[in-house]
């Protein structure tokens, strides 16, 4: 599921914007890189932060109108799919390092 989250996100975003598959995936990869995230190891929470804070700007830069709304709609659908598939967030190095500090 973790590896598929990127694909699901790209697919849902493609539906909500006028961008084609390649453009959406490229834009998403750029946003994830800016966020310091690995496309192969994503969690829904991480994706939500990217869709709320970085993706709208990236989409607007590519001429997408109502980028905030598109991101919101796509994110709701992604969260829904993730919930239905019963996926749980994978343990990230951040989680482990937080624990190691006693947090």
């Amino acid at each position: 599921m973790v590896a598929q989250l990127f694909d699901i996100a790209a697919e849902r975003l493609e539906r909500c914007t006028a961008l084609d598959r390649l453009e959406v995936r490229g834009t998403l990869r750029i946003a994830l890189k800016r966020a310091g995230l690995d496309p192969n190891n994503l969690t829904v929470e991480q994706l939500r932060a990217v869709f709320e804070q970085l993706m709208p700007v990236e989409l607007e830069n590519r001429g997408v109108v109502d980028a905030v709304e598109a991101c919101g709609t796509a994110m709701d659908e992604i969260a829904c799919v993730a919930r239905e598939s019963g996926s749980t967030s994978a343990l990230t190095p951040d989680d482990i390092f937080k624990r190691l500090g006693g947090g």
């Binding site: 310091g36 995230l37 690995d38 932060a49 190095p93 951040d94 482990i96 190691l100 006693g102 947090g103």
Partner: protein, 266 residues
């Protein structure tokens, strides 16, 4: 963990009451700290029932034991280690690196085939060095011994690896912190571990230098000894900040990161 020439063997061979005699103080400090850190992580692993903290705990325990026992002949009033004790402490050292390797792979590259291959390669190198040491009644820590180099690679590679992984993770975590996905305390912990890897790598290189200088140049030995001791103390210092951060340090991290993410834990 840094493997270096057994002080007892070194002093015995060279018959020098030089500054190395005081190196046991560094070993005592480092060994004691590693044991304390190990106990803390063991307690954490019992609470969380997770493997990473347990792996790190075993690694620190092995390192601590190595320092405390291997250097014991240099403590005032202590006798040289028997061949059996030399072999045993070498195996404790060698086996102690395994959980460290598994920790790095589990945390940073759980799915990676090359990481698994590296774990195997390092593991085989360590075992090969351990077998050679057993055969000879103790590891010959001289550059002419190819098995020393093989074992050296087995514990130097993880030091480089953890440094690189932590530095890369620090870079990513800094970006994540800007959008609130990573706590400043965690970001800082990556940086600390990168420094730890850096100091350990330096110490490994100094150990190699030391093994190379098996001859007459005392100046080089003293330099390598000082570098090793300094790196080990620096490593302990970084781990102290990672696992036992004082309130003033936590406050400093919080203030530095104010406005770019949530407050650090603890």
């Amino acid at each position: 963990m840094v493997r270096k020439r057994s002080q007892s063997l070194w002093l015995d061979m060279k018959r020098i009451p030089a500054m190395e005699e005081n190196a046991y103080l560094t070993a005592l400090i480092a060994g004691s700290f590693y044991m304390v850190a190990s106990a803390r992580l063991l307690r954490l692993s019992m609470r969380t029932r997770e493997l990473p903290e347990l792996m790190l705990s075993v690694y620190f325990a092995a390192t601590g034991l190595y320092y405390l026992i291997a250097y014991s002949p240099n403590y005032p009033g202590f006798e040289p280690l028997s061949p059996f004790a030399n072999i045993a402490i070498n195996w404790i050292f060698v086996l102690g690196v395994f959980p460290f390797l598994l920790f790095i792979r589990r945390v940073f590259r759980p799915e990676s085939a090359w990481a698994l291959a590296l774990v195997w390669i390092c593991g085989l190198c360590l075992v090969a060095g351990g077998i050679d040491a057993t055969r000879k009644g103790g590891l010959e820590e001289v550059i002419e011994n190819p098995w020393f180099i093989v074992e050296w690679f087995g514990y130097a590679a993880p030091a480089v690896w953890i440094g690189c992984e932590a530095a890369l993770s620090y870079r990513g975590a800094s970006k994540r912190a800007e959008i609130g996905l990573c706590e400043p305390g965690v970001v800082n912990r990556y940086l600390i571990l990168a420094w730890f890897g850096c100091f350990q790598t330096l110490a490994c290189l100094a150990g190699l230098y030391w093994a190379y200088d098996n001859g007459d140049n005392r100046a080089i030995s003293v330099f390598a000894d000082a570098l090793l001791g300094g790196c080990e103390i620096a490593s302990v210092g970084t781990l102290w900040l990672a696992f036992f951060p004082p309130a003033i340090y936590r406050k400093w991290i919080l203030e530095r990161s104010a406005g770019i993410g949530p407050a650090p834990e603890g």
